[in-house]
């Protein structure tokens, strides 16, 4: 049991399975080859035997017919007692040079006129034979342990039977089988060892891959599995695995960044809540002060809810869990509605929101989602735009199948580096702007998610004194 558990990994390995399959296949081929050779040799020998038997019989018949003895009256018991005895000897010795000790029986009609001595007077009878020439096997234990092959030829009144035991053929084949029985297992063993060696050689690279793969965890995803340079299956496998590790690394980094940023974003309102509540509990305050603190706590709670909602939305949209419900919307009415809501905030900063639609039109999109996207853009424009300068919303059709909505505001120049990162989650142009505007770095990410869900695009145009966000969406 202990022994088995030790070799178990090897038994389960591909290397072992490959070797076994390889050897098994080899064994089957060996067996097929053995049987093929066996049958080929057997049939071939039998054919040659048949040929020689019929040749012998034919030769006897030729002699019989060339001499016109009265064989009807000839008695086998009369051998050497008549003048023809000598002729039969000649037939026997010269024509039928019976070196193999063939059984020969000649009959005339029903009467046996000659039997070779080796038959020991045993009469060969095959009553159900009809054709002139017939080859068959028979068994007669008195003559031979093995089957006997016989050829019978009828010509006129004469019937010649020439028979021979299959011994010889079987002997040859049996000795071949003997050799085979010894050689086949040796070959099998060699194929096993050879197979094991070959698979060991080719699969040892797999072990290296396994070893390296085991070492790679979420903390060292920058490492690569060696062996990419080989242009074979393993090389390709390693290359694909490395590509996969790279992809995993990107998503792990993304997730890490996401959770760090999410935690960061959540920590600010939580710090405020905790701090304010602790100060409130520290000593007794006036009702006005308590109300102030509660108001502030409420604001921070709303901020937390907004952060969580945004995170949830982005995460849902990235996992394709947000369904969009398109319907026909009139752009002028739609944008006027949004601007009306936004004016409450804009008035505080003395900012006017202007809408430019030269030709009114309608388009199909998810009303609530696009409203959210445009609202976020306008909120940003109010928060980060220069006070007292207007915000300009433009919308128009592009060709027949697309339309655009843009939000432009005046502001200090933003660097190219910041522009590139502007849609990153939580990104806020932190070093140059103050967070006291209460912005959540998720706003633009949400906009981008919504636009992506509509198969649209969002671009940023940067000017020295202003910035413009342009959303392009399919019209239907």
């Amino acid at each position: 049991m202990k022994m088995f558990s030790k070799i178990k990994p090897y038994v389960l390995s591909t290397r072992f399975k490959m070797t076994i399959w390889y050897a098994f296949l080899f064994l089957i081929l060996e067996i097929i080859l053995g049987f093929t050779i066996y049958y080929y040799l057997y049939n071939n020998s039998l054919k040659r035997l048949d040929l020689s038997l019929s040749a012998q019989a034919n030769a006897i018949l030729r002699v019989l017919k060339s001499k016109h003895f009265d064989l009807e009256t000839f008695e086998p018991s009369d051998i050497y007692s008549s003048e023809e005895d000598l002729i039969w000897d000649i037939i026997y010795d010269v024509v039928v040079f019976n070196e193999r000790n063939t059984f020969i029986q000649i009959s005339s009609g029903k009467k046996v006129i000659y039997q070779s001595a080796n038959l020991s007077k045993i009469k060969l009878e095959f009553p159900n034979i009809k054709s002139n020439k017939q080859t068959f096997d028979f068994v007669d234990e008195r003559l031979s342990e093995n089957e006997i092959r016989a050829t019978q030829i009828k010509d006129g009144n004469y019937t010649v039977i020439v028979a021979y035991p299959k011994e010889h053929i079987l002997q040859t084949i049996n000795s071949l089988t003997d050799i085979y029985v010894v050689i086949a297992p040796i070959f099998f063993l060699v194929s096993l060892i050879g197979g094991a060696l070959i698979s060991q050689r080719s699969l040892s690279r797999i072990d290296k891959i396994i070893k390296k793969t085991e070492e790679i965890t979420a903390h060292n995803l920058s490492e690569i599995i060696p062996g990419e340079e080989h242009n074979d299956e393993f090389g390709r496998l390693v290359k694909k695995m490395n590509e996969m590790i790279q992809r995993i690394r990107t998503s792990v980094e993304y997730m890490n960044q996401f959770s760090i940023s999410a935690a960061h974003e959540l920590k600010t309102p939580l710090t405020i809540l905790r701090g304010e509540i602790e100060i409130a509990l520290k000593s007794e305050k006036s009702p006005t002060e308590y109300i102030e603190i509660l108001k502030s706590n409420y604001e921070e709670t709303l901020r937390l809810i907004k952060i969580v909602d945004n995170l949830f939305f982005i995460s849902k949209s990235e996992n394709n869990l947000v369904k969009i419900h398109k319907r026909e919307v009139n752009l002028k009415e739609f944008l006027q509605g949004i601007i009306k809501n936004a004016n409450v905030l804009a008035d505080d900063k003395n900012t006017e929101i202007k809408l430019i639609i030269e030709e009114n039109f309608s388009a199909n999109f998810d009303y609530d989602l696009i409203k959210q996207a445009v609202t976020n853009l306008i909120d940003n424009a109010i928060k980060y735009g220069t006070d007292n300068f207007p915000i300009i919303i433009t919308s128009k059709k592009i060709y027949d199948n697309k339309f655009m909505i843009s939000v432009k505001n005046w502001c200090e120049e933003i660097s190219q580096k910041d522009i590139e990162k502007i849609f990153d989650r939580f990104y806020r142009i932190d070093t140059s702007r103050t967070r006291s505007t209460g912005g959540v770095g998720l706003g633009l990410s949400v906009v981008k998610s919504i636009v992506n869900l509509h198969n649209g695009t969002i671009q940023v145009e940067k000017f020295p004194d202003s910035i413009e966000f342009i959303i392009e969406l399919p019209a239907s």
Binding site: T268, E276, S436
Partner: protein, 223 residues
């Protein structure tokens, strides 16, 4: 004791200021790195509470800059990041301590007390001179085991004098450490408070503790 809070999140700065003032500290606030640097370099503070993520100049850079300018005021960093790297970076830049947001206010005050102790040879939270005792945690003052009720300003002046026991403290120094920077410098105010303090602490005792050094300032001496 006068503290500078450099924090861009207005509400955070506000509750820290409010809380510390309840603890009898004088607090100035700067909402970005630039203003923070100006205040820290021009005014005299006993401690700076500095957020790392602030606009214009971040906390780490600001710490380095202050140390470069030989301003050795203790700095307590506030950070939302709690990775070891950030802490190491902050401390290596010259900060004295750090606190991760969201923090417990009690911990903030405990760390402030610890940092203020470091500048003097004082390991206890009770400052003494002869039979005068000042408890830094409960903000109570005793003379000969009898509690003396002080106003916030009186307490602050007494605390500063006790922290600098046996050393002469000028009126300007007292103003700098007891008032925030909105205060219009007028040293007469100090004389008024010292008089009140004397009435509460030294009146009725043979041994006078607060002494006037003419033309220079004040001193608390035990003998």
């Amino acid at each position: 004791m006068r503290i500078l809070v450099i924090e861009d999140e207005k509400k955070v700065a506000s509750f820290i200021k409010k809380g510390l003032e309840e603890e009898f500290f004088t607090v100035d606030v700067a909402y970005n790195g630039k203003d923070g640097l100006v205040l820290a370099s021009s005014e005299e503070y006993d401690l700076i509470i500095l957020d790392i993520m602030i606009p214009f100049i971040d906390g780490i850079t600001l710490t380095k800059e202050l140390r470069k300018r030989k301003i050795i005021t203790p700095i307590l960093l506030l950070t939302v990041k709690d990775s070891v790297n950030d802490k190491v970076e902050g401390l290596d830049a010259g900060a004295d301590d750090y606190l991760t947001k969201p923090f417990a206010f009690e911990e903030l005050t405990a760390r402030i007390r610890a940092l203020l102790r470091r500048t003097e040879i004082q390991k206890s939270n009770i400052l003494t001179a002869a039979d005068l005792k000042l408890d830094l945690i409960t903000h109570t003052v005793y003379r000969n085991n009898k509690e003396i009720i002080l106003t916030q300003k009186e307490y602050s002046i007494l605390e500063y004098l006790l922290r600098n026991k046996n050393k002469i403290v000028s009126r300007t120094k007292l103003i700098e450490h007891v008032y925030d920077y909105h205060f219009d410098t007028d040293t007469n105010v100090i004389d008024v408070y010292i008089n009140k303090l004397r009435n509460k602490i030294d009146y009725g005792f043979d041994k006078k503790l607060i002494h006037t050094i003419r033309g220079v300032g004040y001193i608390i001496k035990e003998e």
